[in-house]
């Protein structure tokens, strides 16, 4: 038996080892960095629509500033918004709760993981202010541009960027260790592997894929750092180096990385579909099998990012084949998701809206990837806005539709209050509309031949037909960014003023809904829950209720009497 001990302010909020507090820290970090990343998105769209005119709150976006801004937009959105929001925050909050544990296997390592990420974010932000300015080599940092400051004049900024990325990669790997060990060793009694919710499986799949893929890019980062600082020539042809090696190392990681960002959202959507359609997930084993195949394939598709680099042409066909092949397991998962919804008793609460929106928008992203994976079509489409639209139609749904789905769904458990439903619904509708208005036109201008990573389209007379589409996309982008303030208001306002939530407002089966809202330190009462069924017993024939919690015997006593 145990007494919850009193925690001081610093132990409870700042230097916390409690997985729920660490999760909230990651969430706050993600939201803060999203504001910066979103501001950069605004600047990018402004320059494209109104070249060389001073942008509000910034001034003129000159070409070298533009290069820095697109680099930072990509880096921030992927590594300081995407990974904290989709991997760190949900894994930290949900994994112990969903398996019936009291905390992570290594709580102090967890805290260290957050502080490393915060340090990395600080280093990146500090690079805005150093002499020479921030990194400007694209988020992909292709050599030789990134390997020597003689081309861009950026030295300190590049070094800080490399170190910042190395830190965030190491922090994420450490987090992954935690999640994996926790699930293997700390499942509650009766929580067999087959009863673990699919969200946990997808979070684990993401963690596993990440730490298996990150090694080569860390190796490459050390080499790039040495090129910049010690004048070595790993990636500089003039010194006997090989620029394409950087690309191979980078994309060997980069491709599995996009699945690291995609898997958690798949997990959230599947669990949300089960709850809001009152149905078990269709084809659970098929989904898990397809995921395993997809992970395996994801390690042999990377060179589809390099079709036009001048690499050995013999490599093009094999990689094109594997790239087309990898769409198969994902298509299977998609069909299973549709069949999960089919004939369900659908209730359109905000989490369900986000999950449905994800299905619709990611479908576009996934299908357009096939065009790019076909190497012949890629000859024309590479480096155009078609690519930009494709990856925004995959990344934005994964990161934001998935992230908002998770936040909307688990908000009552995190804070004990409900989000304002009207505001959340309006936020979804407007985001969905404006998102499509920003990025659909980019497919069109991309097919028209407009290339990416150029600051001033008006410089090229062949792009003059696209002026109106670019302006339309920019105005939609400004509306999209403005819409997010609805969410920010809702998130912070409802923390204290939202409707008080019941323990299990959506009548879901998974274990986390049995704990208090928010769960206390140590999560459960004196006795852990004992699990007697799987997580998808919804609408079982012959039962009075349409749901069946995984641990019916758990009484939910407060941890101290």
């Amino acid at each position: 038996m145990s007494q919850e001990h009193h925690q001081g302010f610093f132990t409870k909020y700042i230097f916390s080892t409690d997985h729920k507090m660490v999760a909230k820290q990651f969430l706050l970090l993600a939201l803060s960095m999203a504001v910066i990343g979103g501001f950069y998105a605004f600047l990018i769209r402004w320059e494209l629509a109104y070249p060389n005119q001073p942008a509000p709150f910034f001034g003129v976006v000159t070409p070298d500033k533009y290069n820095a801004i697109i680099t930072l937009h990509g880096t921030i959105m992927l590594f300081f918004v995407g990974m904290p929001l989709l991997n760190a925050f949900p894994s930290n909050f949900l994994v112990p709760l969903m398996i019936g544990a009291r905390d992570m296997a290594f709580p102090r390592l967890n805290m260290a993981s957050f502080w490393m990420t915060l340090l990395a974010a600080g280093l990146l932000v500090s690079s805005f202010f150093v002499p020479g300015g921030p990194v400007a080599g694209g988020w992909t940092g292709y050599a030789p541009l990134s390997a020597s400051s003689e081309y861009t004049g950026v030295k300190m900024g590049m070094v800080l960027w490399i170190i910042s990325l190395a830190l965030v990669f190491i922090a994420s790997s450490l987090g992954g260790i935690n999640y994996l060990v926790t699930v293997v060793t700390m499942r509650a009694k009766g929580m067999t592997y087959s009863r673990v919710p699919i969200t946990v499986w997808f979070l684990l799949a993401a963690a596993l894929t990440f730490f298996l893929a990150v090694g080569p890019v860390l190796a490459g980062a050390f080499m790039l750092l040495m090129d910049n600082v010690f004048g070595t020539g790993f990636f500089l042809p003039g010194k006997g180096g090989e620029p394409l090696l950087w690309q191979h190392l980078f994309w060997f990681f980069g491709h599995p990385e996009v699945y690291v960002l995609f898997f958690p959202t798949l997990g959230f959507c599947l669990d949300i579909f089960a709850v809001f359609c009152r149905k078990p997930i269709f084809g659970q084993k098929l989904i898990i099998g397809s995921t395993v195949v997809a992970i395996a394939l994801s390690f042999v598709v990377w060179a589809h990012h390099m079709f036009q680099t001048g690499m050995n042409p013999t490599l093009v066909t094999p990689f094109a084949i594997t790239t087309i092949l990898i769409s198969v397991p994902f298509a299977i998962i998609y069909v299973c998701m549709f069949l999960t919804i089919r004939n369900g008793s659908i209730s359109l609460e905000p989490p369900m809206l986000w999950a449905l929106g994800f299905l619709a928008t990611f479908l576009v992203g996934g299908l357009t990837g096939i065009f790019l994976g076909a190497a012949g079509a890629d000859i024309y489409l590479h480096g155009t806005y078609f690519v930009v639209a494709h990856f925004h139609y995959t990344m934005f749904p994964s990161v934001f539709f998935g992230g908002y789905a998770a936040v909307n769904y688990w908000y009552p458990k995190m804070f004990g209050r409900m989000l304002n439903r009207m505001a959340a619904t309006i936020h979804f509708v407007l985001t969905f509309i404006f998102f499509n208005c920003v990025f659909w036109p980019l497919f069109i201008v991309g097919m028209g031949g407009m290339v990416r990573r150029i600051a001033d389209p008006s410089f090229y007379p062949q792009y003059s037909p696209f002026v109106h589409l670019n302006i339309f996309a920019t105005i939609s982008a400004m509306c999209l960014i403005a819409t997010q303030t609805i969410f920010l208001w809702n998130f912070f306002y409802s923390m204290k003023n939202g409707k008080v939530a019941e323990l299990n407002p959506y009548h879901a089966n998974t274990l986390e809904w049995l704990a208090q809202s928010p769960p206390p330190h140590g999560n459960w009462g004196p006795k852990l829950p004992v699990v007697t069924s799987g997580p998808y017993e919804y609408s079982k024939p012959g039962e009075t209720e349409d749901w069946h919690t995984q641990a019916p015997s758990y009484k939910g006593e407060a941890i101290h009497g």
Binding site: L212, G240, L244, H248, V300, L315
Partner: protein, 97 residues
């Protein structure tokens, strides 16, 4: 039974490792034809590695999960190197600037 309770044969393994290390160095002084030298040296290194892994690191006592954690990165290493050889190692790019 786990790694710390199994009967230890650390001394035997140590002697074997030292001998193998010295033999490997010696093998590099042989001038065998073509690539045989490389195979011999790395074959010996692999045996040393397996000795350390199975005996010192206790791999022989671990379950499927740990074997998987060791084997999968090695497979990924092979994939990375073999798929990049046509590009990095054999592509006729003779840029001696």
């Amino acid at each position: 039974m786990n790694i710390t309770t199994s009967k230890s044969n650390h001394e035997l393994v140590y002697i074997a490792l030292v001998i193998l290390a010295l033999v490997t160095v010696g093998a590099s002084f042989l001038h065998l034809a073509g690539n045989e030298n490389v195979y011999l040296i790395f074959g010996l290194a692999t045996i040393q590695c397996l000795l350390v892994a199975f005996q010192y690191m206790g791999l022989k006592l671990e379950g499927v999960m740990v074997y998987g954690l060791v084997i999968v990165p090695l497979i990924l290493f092979a994939i990375l190197v073999f798929l990049c050889i046509p590009d990095i190692s054999h592509y006729p790019l003779n840029l001696k600037l």
